[in-house]
Amino acid sequence: MPDLIAKSALEGRSLALGGVTLAEVDPGPITSIALYPGGTKTAAKGLRTLGLAMPGPNSFIEKKGARIVWTGREQAFLIGVAPPAIEGAALTDQSDGWAVLALSGVAAVEVLARLVPVDLRLAACPVGTALRTQVNHMNAVILRTGDYGFEILVFRSMARTAWHEIENAMHMVQARAGTKI
């Protein structure tokens, strides 16, 4: 019988530079919930068992370690818990499809400004925001998890590129920090 050892994309790597920390985190299970036409009510019933509801566009809801993240029209990712029985929706396991990077620190927003074509400053992107957008040339889901914190979901196979690009941006932001404008 094979001994199947689980490995995350980046094996839990982390890095701190100039007050910004980048780390791969384990999000737990990720399940895509895609409503069928007419499935809104029955799906809501299923989600209520977790105290959650389908989130509105560009947002996520968090309750007791479970997150439900808007990812598209009538679609969300349930993250951190196994999905309950949900009627009226297609459920698809996405747990292994993504690498999750947590980026935190006062300059985190400056780092992402090098890579993400959306205004991520707190006023425009308050805590609880979930965006489907890009990190440079990669599609991503970006969660605003704290005043100085983000979680970034990228396709698992691209995790190394994502890491490399964010790390590069961290280096440049750090190098600028010592320069007077």
Binding site: D3, A90, D96, R156, M172
Partner: protein
């Protein structure tokens, strides 16, 4: 020469730098131009065509003459404006575009040949003999042309790109820009203030004056301090807004590290993409030269530049300065010079009614008509009435008035409007939605006008944002702008319009004489405006000279327009991040490290990296490894990572119906637990992709796509779903990344698979079942891309690496092992399976012999268009196999043996070839006209490029196990 007590340079911080091999001293805050002038270096460059000696003309990014190469530790940067480059300790710069030294440039001979080098001369000559163009003339022209040099070495510098967002973008920090930023900032709007120079203040730093009773410099300092303290205001210095794009997007170039020695990770430049709800263009105005004979000598400068060098850098570019100007505004330089103790030799003003209050000789109604001094100005000739006055002078400050810096307003095809009153083009309102030009950029040349218009534009912007603010506009100078247009002084000699490209008034007149009367024709014929200054110094004057030559007014002659970028931007800055692997994401398989551990060369497959082959000790070529891996699969068992194939999870009551619509064949009838090969067409009837789809449950399918088309298919499915059947009960999502999938193929595949399943399953060919492996839920498919009994086993990606290593180890105990892309390709050619080498976008189902897979019972995407007469029939090339004993090649073309080889006799082409260790022959897949009817024929394969000419047998494309007995075993 440095002047005591003047300038904003930091005299406590001396800086040493090097120009053309000589060391000089400057101060922090100097530009290279100011520091060279302080050292009395007047000759800094050579012109483009005639190699005329040139000195600094301006004090800004519009500089046409003082272009130098900056030499860094690893590389050199050509065409750097000495007027922008700040000096720093250890800066090394050198002059460019010279053959020999700057003082003795051998190519200066061109100047003597100038009568023969007039506008467009090259269109009329160099035609005979024909071979001489590429052999002689062109290389000579190319070597003489050009300006600075690239080293040819990779640019290893650090560059970055970034995004920024704001409510109000203020471009320029002169009085108008500062007032706008202050107004919007106090209103609480989110403001970005961009300033091209390293210090805020714009012309206030050069011109002085008072604002609200304060010396201008103090007012600037006060405003800057307030702006810096506002959290909603972001100040970006050394940042030039380079382009206005759609919907409030602006490009901007920040010079991050160019003013200091290189430092690790510190970007040289950053290219910003700024998105602004409103923008205020406070970019000021550019002073324009006057064309007179020999107006290009070192020492002849813009009047505003002389004033900037004096007041901002504490430098006077000469001992005896003359002013030649046609506005009252320009007189300020003479007053400042005299106040600083510099001799003003004379003021020459072409306006007959101009004042003459200054304490120096003032010639009104007079013009400068000539100059002397080969490497630097020594004197000028002034014509006053019929009298010619000789004036000894080593610096001529000239001013022909001002052109609003309206370039950005033209970036969306807007044309500026001619103002007779200002003798200048002014911006057309609304030319760039959301952008308002203010101050000098809009033709308000007084400080008062700048403050008022900057304030008003910002007020309007903040009101549109729903904010309110009350800011008092301070008192300031409001001198009227009174100009008598003077573009070119009458004369017979060469008078320069475009300094950088050596375009004179004669050239423009010649263009008109030869019928190039449209302004665009004139520019293209003379090359005026195409030099590094982008016509900033010459466009309007050239237009005026053309208007005069063609007897039209300026507005009738045309307008001048500008395209991005406002200042030249390095490719590296706009392309930041693209270097090396940065150009596109890299996708790695879970087996990547395991493959590399085994020495497998990894090759690109789209964005993925896949193992090419797995070399064994003793193997010296890829072919040896490949042949072994093929035999291994045919004889025992092989393992391949096939996770790159696209996987789409499709669920819902209408899932089968949806697949019936996107595939040519039927999937709604597929039993649960079975897999079917499917063919997908584009709506235009050509093959889009192929792959298998499995029915996992009553309402649950799993589609696979080729690696290459995974994204394409997803987009296609989304379109079909959302456009044509959004109300169906079907949802789908990519699970490509969620599953690691491995092919287990060969006669011993079943044995291997059974050895690791927790509960054995017996799958029929094209069957699928859920399985458990080592406590993990997986999926087992019995499908084959090799022609052998084959399985694909899928597990959640996190277990991919472990499973791959385990499978390979098991296979090895059975005499098998991993196989790579090369073997995979051979195996599929032997079996006649197609890839995107065959379905290359011009191929129909009919061409590949799959027309029977297009169900007659239902509609599907692409079905109708495939019935067009040109899409099927014997004239088309059809998929065949080729077999021979000599090496053949993909890309070769096919001919009937004995016929001539040319386009008209071409019968088809080869798409894939391999040496088949199984068949013991070279095999090919090819497209041949009416090919299915020609099995058994001999065909001649010709590859000129590789020197192959081989007779092949045309046959069925399935070479191995044509009945499929092995698959179904």
């Amino acid at each position: 020469m440095r002047v005591d007590g003047k300038g904003l340079i930091d005299r406590t911080k001396p800086v040493r730098f090097c120009f053309d091999g000589r060391d000089y001293a400057g101060y922090k805050g100097d530009t290279l131009a100011s520091a060279l002038l302080a050292n009395d270096v007047r000759l800094v460059g050579r012109s483009f065509k005639y190699h005329r000696p040139r000195g600094v003309l301006t004090a800004g990014s519009e500089e046409p003459n003082a272009l130098v190469e900056v030499v860094g530790p690893s590389n050199q940067t050509p065409n750097v404006r000495a007027t922008v480059q700040e000096v720093f300790e250890g800066l090394v710069a050198q002059s460019q575009n010279r053959l020999g030294s700057l003082r003795f440039d051998l190519l200066a001979v061109n100047d003597y040949l100038s009568p023969f080098l007039s506008a467009g001369f090259y269109y009329k000559t160099f035609m005979w003999p024909r071979a001489f163009w590429e052999g002689l003339y062109e290389p000579l022209i190319r070597r003489a042309a050009g300006l600075g040099s690239l080293s040819g070495r990779h640019d290893e510098g650090v560059y970055e790109k970034a995004f920024a967002f704001c409510d109000v973008l203020v471009i320029g920090s002169g009085p108008a820009g500062l007032m706008a930023a202050l107004t919007a900032g106090r209103a609480g709007a989110d403001v970005i203030l961009c300033e091209e120079s390293h210090a805020l203040g714009g012309r206030l730093l050069s011109d002085g004056g008072t604002i609200g009773g304060l010396p201008a410099g103090d007012w600037v300092a006060q405003v800057v301090a307030e702006l810096e303290a506002l959290p909603n205001v972001r100040i970006m210095v050394r940042t030039t807004v380079t382009g206005a794009y759609d919907h409030g997007t602006y490009g901007a170039l920040e010079r991050v590290g160019l003013h200091k020695p290189a430092r690790p990770n510190l970007p040289r430049e950053c290219f910003w993409r700024i998105v602004a709800k409103h923008a205020v263009l406070a970019s000021g105005a550019l002073e324009r030269p006057v064309a007179f004979e020999n107006n290009d000598r070192p020492g002849i400068m813009m009047a505003s530049a002389v004033r900037t060098y004096l007041n901002r850098y504490g430098v006077v570019p000469g001992r005896r300065v003359t002013l030649f100007a046609n506005t009252d505004q320009a007189r300020g330089v003479a007053r400042d010079l005299m106040a600083a103790g510099v001799t003003v030799a004379a003021i020459v003003d072409p306006r007959p009614d101009a004042s003459s209050v200054e304490d120096c000789p003032v010639h009104v109604g007079a013009e400068v008509v000539g100059s002397r001094g080969r490497l630097g100005l020594s004197g000028i000739q002034v014509r006053k009435g019929s009298e010619i006055i000789e004036i000894e002078t080593d610096c001529l400050a000239m001013s022909g008035g001002w052109n609003p810096t309206l370039h950005l307003t033209c970036h969306m095809n807007g044309r500026p409007r001619w103002s007779e009153e200002l003798a200048a083009f002014v911006p057309m309102e609304g030319a760039v939605p959301g952008l308002v030009a203010v101050g000098a950029a809009n033709g308000s040349f007084s400080t008062h006008g700048a403050l008022v218009t900057g304030h008003a534009a910002a007020l309007k912007a903040v009101e549109a944002l729903g904010r309110k603010v009350s800011v008092a506009v301070p008192e300031a100078e409001d001198m009227p702008y009174r100009i008598k247009a003077l573009w070119a002084v009458e004369g017979t000699g060469r008078a320069w319009l475009d300094f950088a490209n050596d375009v004179t008034t004669k050239d423009v007149k010649l263009a008109a004489q030869e019928g190039f009367r449209s302004v665009e024709h004139m520019k293209r014929y003379t090359t005026q405006g195409m030099a590094p200054d982008q016509g900033k110094n010459s466009n309007v004057a050239a237009l005026a000279v053309l208007a005069d030559a063609t007897g039209r007014g300026i507005p009738e002659t045309g307008t001048t327009t500008f395209r991005p970028p406002y200042v030249p931007v390095s490719i590296a800055a706009m392309g930041a991040g693209g270097r090396a692997e940065g150009f596109a994401p890299q996708r790695f398989l879970t087996s990547d490290q395991a493959s590399r551990d085994r020495g497998a060369p990894m090759i690109e497959a789209g964005l993925w990296y896949r193992p090419s082959y797995f070399p064994k000790p003793g193997e010296t070529t890829w072919r040896e490894a490949c042949d072994r891996e093929v035999r291994m699969v045919r004889e025992t068992v092989g393992i391949a990572d096939v996770s790159t194939l696209g996987k789409i999870d499709i669920q819902g009551r209408d899932a089968g119906r949806f697949l019936d619509f996107v595939y040519t064949n039927t999937f709604s009838t597929l039993p649960v637990g079975r897999v079917r090969y499917g063919l997908m067409l584009r709506e235009d009837g050509h093959v889009l992709d192929d792959g298998t789809s499995a029915r996992l449950g009553e309402n649950h399918y799993l589609m696979t796509t080729t690696t290459a088309a995974a994204g394409l298919v997803m987009r296609h499915l989304d379109f079909v779903h959302q456009a044509f059947c959004a109300d169906w009960q079907v949802r789908f999502i990519s699970v490509t990344e969620a599953w690691a999938q491995f092919a287990v193929a060969g006669p011993k595949a079943r044995e291997l698979v059974l050895s690791f399943l927790e509960t054995p399953v017996e799958l029929p060919f094209m069957g699928v079942a859920p399985v458990r492996i080592g406590g993990v839920d997986g999926r087992l498919f019995r499908i084959s891309f090799s022609g052998e009994e084959g399985y694909e086993i899928a597990v959640p990606t996190r277990y991919g690496e472990a499973l791959f290593r385990d499978l390979v180890a098991r296979a090895e105990t059975m005499g098998g092992g991993p196989y790579g892309m090369e073997a995979l390709n051979v195996l599929r050619i032997e079996k006649g399976f197609i890839t995107h080498a065959e379905i290359h976008g011009r191929v129909t189902a009919h061409d590949i012999g799959m027309e029977k897979m297009v169900s007659a019972k239902k509609d599907c995407i692409g079905k109708a268009a495939a019935t067009r007469p040109g899409m099927w029939g014997p004239e088309r090339e059809q998929l065949v196999g080729l077999k021979t004993h000599a090496p053949i090649s993909a890309g070769a073309h096919l001919f009937v043996p004995g016929t001539e080889v040319h386009r008209e006799t071409d019968q088809g082409y080869v798409t894939s070839v391999c040496w088949s260790p199984t068949v013991g022959a070279w095999l090919g897949l090819a497209f041949l006209k009416d090919g299915r009817a020609r099995h058994g024929e001999k065909i001649r394969l010709v590859d000129h490029l590789r020197g192959l000419d081989v007779i092949c047998e045309v046959c069925d494309p399935v070479f191995h196990d044509p009945e499929g007995e092995k698959l179904r075993a």
